[in-house]
């Protein structure tokens, strides 16, 4: 008797348990059938795996002034500033890849480092408080700045990632790109949400 009462106290509604056991079972089954083909197609990826792939793609669709490379064999440098959300995803994506005959190098930075040697600079959300200083330090440098931080493009950054219905989209501030003397391929512009005058 006491045991029964205890059980009722611990699991309110013992009688109804079966119903949602069944509910869970159905949820598992249906999720499994949905997930199975999806796993094979690998269309379900971490947000930052996809963002890493975008950074690599940006290298293909942006032209830097010749002066930003010391010579024709120098790599394109992708910098990651602040806490690294990519894990080793960024390194794996660019491993062995070349773009316009150049290899790609990943450099990790901390706030305060000289960032002007980068071609693409990803600014982590951990650096939110420093964005104005970072952008100011890059004035006159040919750096494609990229970040997730809210209002980044509006605040003078070049590319800002935005999530729309769980898909990664991006905003380009054309004024910032022009100031950095970067030529952005019109195909990339066509896919972006563009702000700033042309």
């Amino acid at each position: 008797m006491d045991v029964l009462r205890l059980k009722q106290r611990v699991l309110p509604g013992v009688a109804s348990l079966r119903v949602y056991e069944r509910l869970f079972a159905v949820m598992i089954l249906s999720a499994y059938t949905i997930s199975a083909p999806r796993v094979a197609a690998q269309s379900d990826l971490g947000e930052y795996d996809v963002k890493a792939a975008f950074l690599f793609n940006f290298a293909k669709f942006v032209d830097w002034p010749d002066a930003s490379f010391a010579d024709a064999r120098r790599p394109i440098v992708i910098g990651a500033l602040g806490e690294n959300p990519f894990g080793d995803g960024l390194d794996r994506i660019v491993a062995g890849q070349t773009v316009k005959g150049r290899t790609i190098r990943i450099d990790k930075y901390r706030f305060g480092d000289d960032l002007r040697a980068c071609h693409i600079l990803f600014i982590s959300e951990s650096e939110q408080a420093h964005v104005p200083k970072i952008l100011a330090s890059l004035q006159g440098a040919n750096v494609l700045t990229v970040s997730d931080i809210d209002g980044f493009a509006k605040g003078g950054g070049v590319v800002q990632f935005v999530l729309e219905e769980n898909k990664v989209h991006f905003v380009i501030n054309l004024d910032s790109a022009t100031r950095a003397k970067l030529k952005i391929n019109s195909k990339l512009l066509a896919l972006a949400q563009v702000i700033g005058t042309k």
Binding site: P12, S16, F24, A31, I34, A52, A53, E83, N166
Partner: protein, 663 residues
């Protein structure tokens, strides 16, 4: 046991499937994908909404429009069920009791509720008439709920929590929307909205909504005759006047006819008291103007004014209340380490009541003017790591004079994905018009010598609000890209909880016949303390499937004599799990399980509520959803009768179909 095994299976399977996705050569495939293809990849992320939250030093929950759409809820109170730590209990068709961290009643007095910046708790009871708070649910942008004190920044009455409802800007509701829902509780429930451009710089929308909610059940299972019909219209306009200035104008009106079961004194000879169906008519209107100006990246201000009118009457009592309010707020960032928000406001409210032997107020008319000044200062103690937020609100009003309510919070963010916070607050509740001025005849009886007697609850002009001290600690974190968790623990001490004390009986001759009055005075004298915790977890199992779960524990202890009615109205344990599943071809299937512990007051048993929704977007502009609510039992009580002035009814099992069309 079987449940545990099933849950373990679920965890194991998902673990395996998640592992399978990551162990593949995903990265190399990604580098070969075109940029267009990348833009179409569904990513998993523990929702963006948690990111601003990671900077908040409070137990805060945000309900998004997606959550609202998928909940299947047909009213704002039912939406709030999903908030961890909030008690939501339906009392009859049109009445809810909603509170955070204890003391739940029909007019739970320690909650601040705002709709688009307009304070909607009613100063008569300092509680919310939830039946009067409605809009087209599709037009709500988000609802923020804070469990715990928020008086310093948000406003008065936020002793135990804040609920802030924000509707979408008019620019986000352009074009038409028509929804029709029909089911066993809904005779076709209809909402219509249309939005367009208002000049070259702005947008507007107008809307209307009508429903006639069917009756719930009596304890016997018979219909409770507590039906509720409601009509509502409203509008909103938003203009970007210049690059720096924006203007919002919004307003609306409603008219409700509700029925409640009430314990009414029919006559004094012989003493007769009966539970009868009392029709209640209420209407209201509100109008708000808000001007915002951005001075620079570092400085902005807002000026807001509103007027609110409500009118409620039934056979026992009526009131007409008008409230005007003006608020100014300024925010400025000083260097990179300081952030200051300060503001001031003035509110004037008048309530004109008409009473009966059952319920009356003395004085009949209530006036109260409140001046309020607040400031909150945020200091970065260690860049990106440690922040201190401290502030206070000063108020001066006709009821209690001057008061100051301080608050201090510390936030430690050791990394982007983890944050820990501590808070200490000293909020004060305001006395209500009810607690100072009511005369409520609770019970009639035959006294000594056959003289009729009446037990009367009387407000005390010297009733003061309670002072509370609340300590809180919390953690919020993202564990990988798929899992987010939070936990908050609290301890609150109150020095003046509502209690009653009997007075000396006296003879009254008016109304005839002469009768004995046994007075019961309301007072705020009892000390008490509460503690508990709220934990939540959200797991994005895959891009198509999200699970959210929460558990809340609440314990109360009292020192002194407090009637049981006010201590056992919140459950000790609450557990919820929600599943959101996106199926192919624009189908969605969502399921919700709510376990609510028993209530000591009136011995309301624990119950499990299961709701489910199947949605199908069958065309670009049209969707259909089928919703089942309270599926496990034909009917159940969620709240007792003894702590409110209505007799609660049982919530029925229900289902409805809803068609949504946009153009």
């Amino acid at each position: 046991m079987r449940r545990v095994i099933l849950l373990l299976t679920l965890v194991t399977w998902s673990w395996l499937s998640a592992g399978a996705q990551q162990s593949g050569s995903a990265s190399q495939d990604l580098s070969a994908m075109s940029i267009e293809a990348l833009m179409n990849v569904q990513v998993t992320s523990v929702s963006r909404k948690s990111e601003p939250l990671s900077r908040a030093a409070a137990a805060i929950t945000v309900i998004t429009q997606e959550d609202i759409r998928r909940s299947g809820a047909t009213s704002i109170p039912d939406l709030l069920r999903m908030v961890p730590g909030l008690d939501v209990a339906q009392m009859d068709s049109s009445t809810w009791a909603i509170s955070a961290r204890g003391f739940n009643t029909q007019y739970a007095t320690y909650m601040l509720v705002l709709v688009d910046g307009r304070t909607v708790y009613d100063p008569t009871f300092n509680g919310v008439r939830w039946d009067a708070q409605d809009t087209i649910l599709e037009d709500i942008d988000h609802i923020e709920v804070i469990c715990g004190p928020g008086t310093a920044l948000w406003g008065q009455n936020a002793v135990n929590g804040v609920i802030s409802i924000t509707t979408k800007k008019a620019s986000q509701t352009q074009g038409g929307l028509v929804t029709v829902a029909a089911g066993n509780l809904q005779t076709p429930e209809t909402a219509v909205r249309y939005g367009g451009e208002a000049g070259s710089k702005g947008h507007y929308r107008i809307f209307g909504k009508y429903f006639d909610r069917q009756e719930q059940d009596l304890a016997s299972g018979a219909p409770a005759s507590d039906g509720w019909a409601s009509r509502r219209i409203g509008f909103r306009g938003d203009w970007d006047l210049t690059k720096r200035d924006s203007l919002t104008i919004l307003g609306g009106g409603y008219e409700d006819v509700e029925h409640h079961l009430e314990n009414v004194i029919i006559s004094l000879v012989p003493p007769v008291q009966e539970v009868i169906t009392v029709p209640t008519h209420s209407n209201g209107a509100d109008f708000l103007v808000k001007w915002q100006r951005t001075f620079s990246d570092r400085s902005d201000m807002a000026l807001q004014a509103y007027h609110n009118h409500t009118d409620t009457r039934d056979i026992t009592y009526g009131e007409r209340r008008n409230t005007s309010d003006i608020d100014f707020q300024h925010h400025v960032a000083i260097k990179s380490r300081h952030d200051l928000v300060w503001g001031l406001g003035l509110r004037y409210t008048v309530d004109d009541t008409s009473g009966s032997f059952q319920t009356s107020f003395s004085p009949r008319v209530d006036h109260n003017a409140t001046f309020s000044l607040f400031a909150q200062h945020e200091i970065v103690l260690l860049p990106n790591r440690v922040r201190l937020v401290w502030g206070a609100r000063f108020t001066q009003d006709n009821y209690v004079g001057a008061e100051i309510q301080p608050d201090a919070r510390l936030l430690w963010t050791p990394s982007l994905n983890h944050s820990f916070w501590l808070a200490i607050s000293n909020p004060t509740s305001e006395p209500s018009f009810f607690s100072k001025s009511v005369r409520f005849s609770q019970m009639v009886f035959t006294g000594p010598g056959g003289v009729p007697g009446v037990a009367v609850v009387l407000g005390s002009p010297d009733f003061r609000g309670k002072n509370a001290l609340a300590l809180q600690a919390g953690y919020r974190g993202k564990l990988g890209q798929r899992l987010s968790v939070s936990a908050a623990g609290f301890y609150s001490r109150y020095d003046g909880l509502l209690s009653t004390s009997p007075g000396a009986p006296f003879l009254e001759t008016d109304p005839a016949p002469p009768h004995l009055v046994v007075p019961i005075f309301l007072q705020s004298a009892t000390p008490g303390e509460t503690h508990g915790l709220e934990t939540t977890g959200t797991w994005q199992v895959s891009s198509r499937w999200r699970l959210a779960a929460s558990y809340g524990l609440f314990l109360i202890g009292l020192r002194g004599n407090l009637p049981a009615t006010s201590t056992g109205t919140s459950p000790q344990n609450q557990f919820q799990i929600h599943s959101y599943l996106n199926l192919p071809r624009n189908w969605e299937w969502d399921a919700f399980v709510y376990e609510t512990g028993k209530l000591a007051t009136d011995n309301i048993p624990a119950y499990t509520r299961v709701d489910t929704r199947v949605g199908w977007r069958f065309a670009e502009s049209a969707s259909l959803s089928l919703v089942g609510q309270n599926l496990l039992q034909p009917r159940h009580f969620e709240f007792g009768t003894s702590s409110g002035n209505i007799n609660t009814t049982q919530v029925r099992r229900s289902g409805y179909a809803k068609l949504t069309w946009t153009f």
